[in-house]
């Protein structure tokens, strides 16, 4: 039986990926962070045997270790790790509108970049025992230094953290691709926010369920050039670093 671990599964793309993999017969370990969302619990009523809800804050090293122990007690190997959890939101961190919330840069880094690295480091033994050995990371167009043409009014931390995430994935790729692991780096586009009742906000362009289908096409299938780490977006376009 195939098993996948997905972080940031409370809502949005993470939740939609959980629902999609469960519908296709996977065993899913879903990282849960938000207390005010119960979409996963409702999904669990349909998949009592195959959905495991795992408390997880990737910004906390101890939480990552606990999530690994929980998972290792229940499955012998993981086929895929999907790092989707991210810290977003507006912060006051603009050079021309001081004072900058400098600590916000660390918080974003600790969750969005270091969190993904903590997760990969901890879960390697389970991935090693799996059949697919694939690590997937949800990144963003704002990780691209080359194409960063604007300075967001809500500040620097999120793009900085995603640039660091791409570097982290690059380093993991260099270390683990020669050992048989494959990697995916994905920019999902501007998705509608999933509310606690499962409905979608009006703002933004894309339904997370549609993006999840696109992501799975990228995550699940082997590529002809696995030796090359690239970032693809929801339309299959390649982005530079």
């Amino acid at each position: 039986m195939n098993a996948v671990f997905i972080t940031g599964a409370d809502r949005g793309l993470g939740y939609a990926l959980c629902a999609s993999y469960l519908a296709d017969g996977f065993t899913v370990f879903a990282g849960k962070y938000l207390c005010d969302y119960s979409l996963l619990e409702r999904l669990g009523e349909r998949y009592t045997e195959r959905l495991h809800i795992v408390p997880l804050d990737v910004g906390n090293p101890e939480s990552v270790v606990a999530a690994y122990a929980y998972t290792a007690e229940r499955v012998g190997g993981l086929d895929m790790l999907i790092s989707n959890a991210a810290l977003m939101g507006r912060v006051n961190c603009s050079l021309l509108d001081p004072p900058m919330d400098i600590e916000a840069a660390w918080r974003s880094f600790s969750v969005n970049a270091l969190g993904a690295l903590r997760l990969a480091a901890a879960f390697m033994p389970l991935l090693s025992a799996g059949q697919t050995r694939r690590l997937c990371f949800v990144s963003s167009e704002v990780a691209s230094v080359t194409l960063m043409k604007h300075s967001r009014s809500d500040g620097f931390p999120y793009p900085m953290s995603k640039a660091s995430l791409n570097m982290a994935v690059r380093l993991l790729f260099c270390k683990y691709y020669p050992l048989g692991y494959t990697f995916r780096l994905f920019h999902p586009g501007w998705m509608k926010r999933m509310l606690p009742d499962g409905s979608l906000s009006e703002e933004a362009e894309y339904d997370p369920t549609d993006i999840a289908a696109t992501a799975r096409n990228y995550f699940d299938n082997d590529l002809g050039d696995e030796h090359r780490l690239i970032m693809l977006d929801y339309r299959g376009r390649e982005w530079p670093y």
């Binding site: 001081p98 880094f109 380093l171």
Partner: protein, 203 residues
């Protein structure tokens, strides 16, 4: 030809490279300020700003299971990212009041995502990726205000600090790309990383 900058602010002159660069600035007639030299009385105008933050640590390694050392990673990120952000914010007013509006930072070609290798210095490389994005976004704000940027790899360990300082001075103090003042040949709107041997590297 005397360079166009009169006052340089260096965030530190404690490394061999920074000390050598300060000497070149003085030799070329610039007044060099450091936080130690002006204490709590920050200068009112600065022409060229050099942030020398560039911290590595031999213990900065990734291990399976444990990942990175959390406290070491925090220290490296503080030194290479949070400190440069804080200092630039603190001195931006003086830079706006100066004549040169040139901002210079240190990085490494080993810390470019397109070509980084997993040999060592993972936290350093993650921190520099964040710094690169910060500088790109800062450039988007500050270029229209007349600021220009330099991101420089002194090639520590490969070049002597004195040689790297001469290369840095040359790169930091001249205009990039201008050919006989032809604006069509100007190249100041791109943020690029160049090393002390003149090499330019893709992100």
């Amino acid at each position: 030809m005397r360079c166009a900058f009169n006052t340089a602010l260096m965030t530190s002159a404690h490394t061999a490279f920074a000390e050598a660069l300060a000497k070149v600035f003085v030799r070329e007639g610039l007044r060099v300020l450091t936080p130690e030299s002006f204490g709590v009385c920050a200068p009112e105008s600065v022409d060229i700003y050099v942030d020398t933050s560039d911290s590595t640590d031999g213990r900065d390694v990734f291990t399976e299971g444990a990942g990175l050392d959390e406290s070491l990673t925090r220290r490296i990120y503080e030194h290479n990212v949070l400190r440069p952000m804080t200092l630039l914010e603190a001195h931006l007013k003086a830079l706006i009041g100066g004549q040169g509006r040139r901002l210079c930072f240190l990085s490494s070609r080993a810390a470019l995502t397109s070509s980084a290798l997993a040999d060592s210095n993972w936290a350093y490389k993650l921190s520099k990726a964040a710094l690169h994005m910060f500088l790109q976004m800062a450039a988007n704000k500050l270029l229209p205000m007349g600021f220009t940027f330099r991101l420089f790899d002194p090639l520590c360990g490969l070049l002597a600090p004195e040689a790297a300082a001469e290369a840095a001075f040359s790169y930091f103090t001249r205009r990039r790309g201008t050919e006989r003042d032809n604006p069509m040949r100007d190249d100041e709107t791109r943020l690029v990383l160049r090393d002390a041997l003149g090499g330019e590297h893709a992100w």
